[in-house]
């Protein structure tokens, strides 16, 4: 009996030591990785140490207080309205394009598993992966400066963002209703309208509102690359080192995003 206890204790000890050893090796590997990445990224260590002081003076002396009078100028107010309009239009056109794509990209009810399913999945995956700001720069090069390029960039962002969520909703539906509609001899379009959409519509409306909220966030910085909206003034003020007026734009952006988030939260809970 006593032997067994000490044996069990020994085993426990050796297990503990082994896990301790692994933790130690993991820590060493992590430190080595940290040094390697500092080397690759060429991070100046001396700057890291004085970082907090510099950030503190930057924020307290140069960024604050924001000069809100700048944001009240008519040209800036116009650009804010343009930002909101761009986000609405981009989100609406984007979701209209996304709806059929989501239908094609849902494995359980897709009309063609051989062609449309992989094609629409690929479109959704690629639009999700491509950074919106770079895509906006490409569009600006093609279509010129202005909100039109920004709107197209937001259409792309909507397809990637809403496409995946909407397709996931379709894949989670109750297949019994689909079978019931199919049993009446309905074609694919009938199945979509009478079995799929009634089941997902409530969630889709939520996704559409959420998507607009996300696109508003994106649209605030599109002007940075000349794609319309208030980002243009942010860039302008930063490049002439007027940080306090730039802060005013940033404050407007934060207020807008918080308001839209509250509105989208309210709408999603109110409507359904």
């Amino acid at each position: 009996m006593k032997e067994n206890v000490s044996l069990a204790f020994d085993r426990h000890r050796s297990e503990e030591m082994r896990s301790g050893l692994w933790k130690f090796v993991g820590l060493l590997l992590f430190i080595a990785f940290a040094f390697w990445s500092i080397d690759v990224l060429k991070i100046p260590i001396e700057r890291v140490l004085g970082m907090f002081g510099r950030l503190g003076t930057m924020i307290s002396e140069r960024l604050l207080p924001p000069e809100m009078a700048f944001a009240a100028q008519p040209r800036v107010v116009d650009s804010i309205v343009e930002t909101i309009e761009m986000s609405i239009l981009g989100a609406v056109i984007g979701t209209i394009i996304t709806m059929p794509l989501a239908w094609f990209a849902a494995w359980n009810v897709t009309p063609s598993r051989a062609i449309l399913f992989p094609l629409s999945r690929a479109i959704i995956v690629v639009t999700r992966g491509m950074p919106t700001l770079m895509w906006a720069m490409v569009l600006v090069a093609i279509f010129g400066f202005g909100p039109f390029a920004g709107m197209l960039a937001l259409v792309k962002a909507s397809i990637g963002f809403a496409g995946k969520l909407m397709a996931e909703q379709i894949e989670a539906i109750d297949m019994k209703r689909v079978e019931a509609i199919r049993a009446t001899g309905a074609n694919e379009l009938d199945v979509l309208f009478y079995a799929v959409i009634p089941q997902v519509w409530a969630n889709w409306v939520g996704i559409i509102i959420y998507n607009w909220d996300a696109q508003l966030r994106n649209s605030t910085i599109l002007g940075f690359v000349g794609a319309g909206g208030m980002g243009l003034y942010l860039r302008e003020q930063i490049s002439i080192i007027e940080y306090q007026t730039a802060m005013a734009i940033i404050v407007v952006i934060i207020v807008m995003v918080v308001l839209s988030e509250t509105a989208s939260h309210f709408l999603r809970h109110r409507l359904y």
Partner: protein
């Protein structure tokens, strides 16, 4: 669809009327916005013909021979995303501690503080954080990492605080009954319960941060974005196309791996 609405005896006709009114108002509003953006504010004259646009678009076809030069910036981007996430993980745990209603130390002061930080972090685009950090710390990957950390700690803290609020109070009470202090309750009663959710969220955030890190360079935050800004400025559109393809590939692979790992965890 209209048939389905009428055939459903449970649906109130007033409700249907309300729906169509809301739909109609929304449609008119969107059309007005569309007119403003597409007709009034777009300079169609200057845009040229469709053929010219197609010609410009064709310049963006990827120049594949440029690929070797994009490998190092892509690796940098990946490291920026990784370190941004690591820093965010470190900072988000204390903020989650403040912002979880059931364990926050002083509900009147610390709870609004934690929530405020979360809202600030979640509502501001990473480019804006990067601008502030770049203006304070100079160009390079360091402000990029900090910008990513600031941007992603809100999501991590929010989901963690929600997980803490939904945690089973049983183990927490059991630890409290042994006479443990707040920190010990947090470490041994709360953390083991939320750990799997937390790891899942961290992996998810890592995957999003790769996407975010790729554009930080546009404002001087290091990584592939810097190279993209350079080639766009010098009108090497083929190279720009190659960079976009490279980033898209990296993000898609990252997302695939992240989804697989999270499926395994849950």
């Amino acid at each position: 669809m209209i048939d389905a609405a009428i055939a459903n005896p449970l649906r109130d006709p007033k409700d249907t009327f309300r729906r169509y009114t809301i739909f109609g108002v929304c449609a008119v509003f969107v059309l007005a916005v569309a007119k403003d953006i597409i007709i009034d504010e777009t300079d169609w004259e200057r845009m040229g013909t469709l053929a010219e646009m197609v010609k410009t678009a064709l310049f963006f076809l990827p120049e594949w021979s440029f690929f070797p030069q994009t490998v190092l910036p892509l690796l940098e981007t990946l490291l920026i995303a990784l370190w941004g996430t690591i820093l965010a993980v470190g900072v988000s745990v204390p903020i989650a501690y403040l912002a979880a209603r059931n364990i926050t130390p002083m509900p009147w002061i610390t709870y609004p503080l934690g929530r405020g930080l979360i809202v600030l972090s979640r509502s501001t685009h990473e480019i804006i954080f990067a601008l502030i950090y770049v203006s304070a710390l100079g160009l390079g990957p360091l402000p990029g990492i900090l910008a990513l950390a600031t941007r992603s700690l809100g999501f991590l803290a929010k989901t963690t605080a929600e997980a803490i609020e939904n945690a089973d109070p049983g183990p927490i009470e059991a630890i409290e009954a042994t006479g443990a202090n707040r920190l010990m309750v947090f470490c041994f009663g709360v953390i083991p319960q939320i750990f799997p959710i937390f790891v899942g969220n961290v992996i998810f955030q890592m995957d999003i941060n790769i996407r975010r890190a790729s554009i930080l360079g546009l404002v001087g935050g290091g990584g592939i974005g810097l190279m993209f800004a350079e080639v766009m400025q010098n009108l090497y559109y083929g190279r720009a196309g190659m960079i976009v393809v490279g980033i898209t590939a990296m993000v898609v692979v990252g997302e695939f791996i992240s989804n697989r790992v999270r499926e395994r965890l849950i």
